[in-house]
Symmetry: C2
Subunit: 482 residues, 2 copies
């Protein structure tokens, strides 16, 4: 297959937009033109048959009148006119295009014929076409072709995760909103729509091998593009990045929808899952597990990965809480996620007891889960975390950090972060998701310690770290995947 220059989609020097309405401020073309002009760094040109301006931004009569040949053309017109513009790209050597509109394979035979024509022009001329029927590209700080008004969208922070979604809605909602809520960073986001030309395989190739800002590649797919699964598997196995796929349309009920949606066929998921797993693709069971995994992998990708070279091989954890019930609930989930309770011997229990303040010492419990009780002081939590960090057979600490006890100070997050950043023992924290505790949450996350807002997510995070160790080992040829 031809290698297209996908970099022109994500890092264009300049772009042009066709399909701007002077009457309707909410027309997709107009929204894309103005958000790129006012909010993004790319040089952007608007095309309008009679020229003039829109909200003070100059418009050009046609592509030939532009002061330069743009790297990227965003096409927001009807399906037949779209074909004309793709021909223009070929004629003018515009190397990339985003087609926002529908009316192609997703509407049936008539549309399929249009899409065939589109594909022929694009492949013959090496034009990296995204879509049709898509939101296109969000590649901060350069480009944003999402035709939905920015003020309605929640933009995620900048980070290591490339997002590729067959559903634009899933991209801006399930991913953007929840990434922002959880502080997970995005490098580039791509809505592939009908994926007539640029597909999941080309994007996996690009983000694995070309894009220096991406270390984790996450897909929402409703099945692979026909004939492309094998190549996807090969690239996933070769990739140094973590590859994660979340599938929609896994059930008969869901398949009814995918057929009507972006013209994909839901494959045989059981066989596919097994092949994907063998090729080191991570397959979360739920949206929540997907998000939890991406959050820890994003942290690991950071230059200042707080856990250094410490990895979780066996899943041996210690649980520390100030609430007995929280410890119980976390312990209840360990086995489901392939993790184990470390046992403490009598000497260790006595040593921990000796590290505590005299009141809490008498009522605290040093089984695992450890319950430091509501009589805890900051220094008790610090001492115990420091002590556990030095026990080699503990691979990870789950710290259920409830700030309700009266003597826990607002410094606690900072104090814990300092210990983790020097000891480098993996620690995942649970802190209640309440605005007044953002002081604690932020002091941990500023030091790249991942904080979660449910017990289940904290446990899932350790499981995700363990899974990553195994995948890295296999990719380096050290052990076999079981």
């Amino acid at each position: 297959m031809v290698k297209m220059d996908l970099e022109k989609l994500f890092k264009p020097k300049s772009m042009a937009v066709v399909g701007i309405s002077k009457k309707n401020p909410l027309s997709p073309g107009r929204i894309v033109l103005l958000k790129n002009e006012f909010e993004m760094n790319v040089k952007v040109y608007g095309i309008y048959p009679t020229g003039g301006d829109i909200e003070g931004v100059q418009l050009y009569e046609n592509l030939e009148k532009l002061p330069e040949i743009p790297d990227l053309l965003v096409i927001a017109v009807g399906p037949d006119d779209t074909l004309g513009y793709i021909q223009n790209c070929a004629d003018l050597n515009i190397p990339a295009a985003v087609i926002i509109g529908g009316g192609f394979a997703e509407i049936g035979i008539k549309g399929k014929k249009r899409q065939d024509k589109l594909e022929k022009v694009a492949f013959d001329n090496n034009i990296a076409v995204l879509g049709p029927n898509c939101l296109g590209v969000y590649a901060p700080p350069l480009v944003d072709t999402i035709f939905l008004p920015t003020e309605r969208i929640t933009r995620p922070p900048k980070g290591s995760v490339a997002l590729i979604s067959q559903s634009g809605g899933v991209l801006v909602d399930q991913f953007f909103v929840k990434f922002n809520e959880r502080n997970i960073g995005v490098s580039t986001a791509v809505s592939i729509g009908n994926r007539a030309v640029v597909d999941e395989v080309m994007l996996l190739d690009y983000f694995s091998k070309v894009d220096p800002d991406t270390s984790n590649i996450a897909f929402y797919l409703e099945g692979f593009k026909e004939g492309r699964a094998r190549e996807f598997l090969r690239l996933a196995r070769e990739s140094e990045d973590t590859v994660i796929v979340f599938f929609g349309g896994k059930t008969r009920e869901g398949k009814v929808a995918t057929l009507s949606h972006t013209a994909s066929l839901a494959g045989d998921f059981k066989i596919m899952y097994s092949a994907l797993r063998q090729n080191m693709v991570i397959l979360p069971h739920s949206e929540r597990e997907l998000l939890t995994s991406l959050k820890v992998y994003d942290v690991l990708s950071h230059r200042k990965n707080p856990f250094g070279d410490n990895v979780i091989t066996y899943g041996n954890v210690a649980i520390v809480s100030v609430s007995g019930g929280h410890g119980v609930l976390a312990a209840d989930m360990l086995r489901t996620y392939g993790l184990n309770r470390v046992d403490f011997n009598k000497e260790e229990k006595n040593q921990m007891k000796a590290l505590m303040n005299p009141v809490a010492r008498e009522i605290a419990s040093f089984n695992n889960p450890i319950d430091l009780t509501g009589s805890v002081l900051d220094t008790d939590i610090e001492n115990i975390i420091r002590y556990l960090s030095d026990i080699e057979r503990i691979e990870c600490i789950i710290l259920l950090l409830l700030p309700y006890p009266p003597n826990i100070s607002f410094q606690i997050g900072r104090r814990i972060a300092n210990i983790i950043s020097t000891k480098r023992k993996p620690v995942v924290c649970f802190v209640p998701y309440v605005p007044k505790y953002s002081l604690i949450i932020e002091s941990l996350e500023l030091a790249y310690i991942p904080v979660f807002h449910s017990i289940k997510e904290a446990v899932q995070a350790v499981s995700a770290l363990k899974q990553r160790t195994r995948i890295d080992s296999v990719k380096k040829g050290n052990v076999y995947w079981d």
Copy 2:
């Protein structure tokens, strides 16, 4: 067993607090005294051996010096002094007490002996003793004996759910924080600690039969109190309220913790679960399912229940979204939760098509899930919801309401609420949990339409409604539980 007057715990005319420190502003007794004095409606008296005042609040030298015999005594002293105060309750005819401190059965043999003495005095004298080793009672607007500083706690809204928790941490965190986040209302919350005297059975009895403000009773337990399971089952089956139990310590890993925690023995969960189910107790599989169920049951309990007499018997749903991917993900979950997709015939599809604006009509999909697309207008959503509400075989509509399409207005929540409130067809909504969309969320919730912030919760909510129908039927003797 003796019937104690639990109302004195939750609706005392007056209360007294012992164990106040003049030196330490964070001492439990002092926190309880001042929060009740400044924040709650109960008349509260502080006891201090030398009298005087604390932060301007008068203190009394002992219980005998109080201007009246209080209904409730909050005891925040060491375990041996606690026994003395319980004897005082007997001598002075104080009918109820909350024991905050530990040092009883949870610490072993020595403590168990103390607890035996405590139980004898309490049962002999009919004193409703809560604890020891607990947070006590939060019964707004009257009483709050939670000794954690109020400014650290998130208080849930007022509503129909009585909460009874064996773990204080689970009560104030898993319940309070997440109830507040999800707008679920609490009538009374109880932390039972060692449940030496007042236990889950007595509380189930009280909230079922006595308390007029409670319609749903939720428990966090790590096993039943010894010998009390049978009575619990009987009361649960008789209760007109919905009874929900969430268990901790279900696994071997979790049991390690419960033994050290509040001196309970985790039972054989498999047998217990089956007995509970047969007696119409709802057993959520996860914290999230627990919260989702409580949210819908809280709504149903409201005088203005928006769904009227409409019930979900078979679980036949229609899914409406403006994003294909969201529809797929929701449909994928139906079977797991015992729900079914309704199929539309050609005529119905054409009728729905005719109700849409000309642009969206051409690209929308009227299979189930219905995808109205990003070209949707408010009126399209209104027309489709109204249309589906009149189809009898649809028992519930799952509306995945993404406000990203440019033509959806801020009125949309209000418009949908008005339709539901007149049609009374059960509708559960998903709206992204983003501050800027609280305008839409609030307009629905003001009309008691439950709004969820994940697709999974919306689907779980329908399942919870279906479960409630079955339980109500069995309790009324109509059908058998399968």
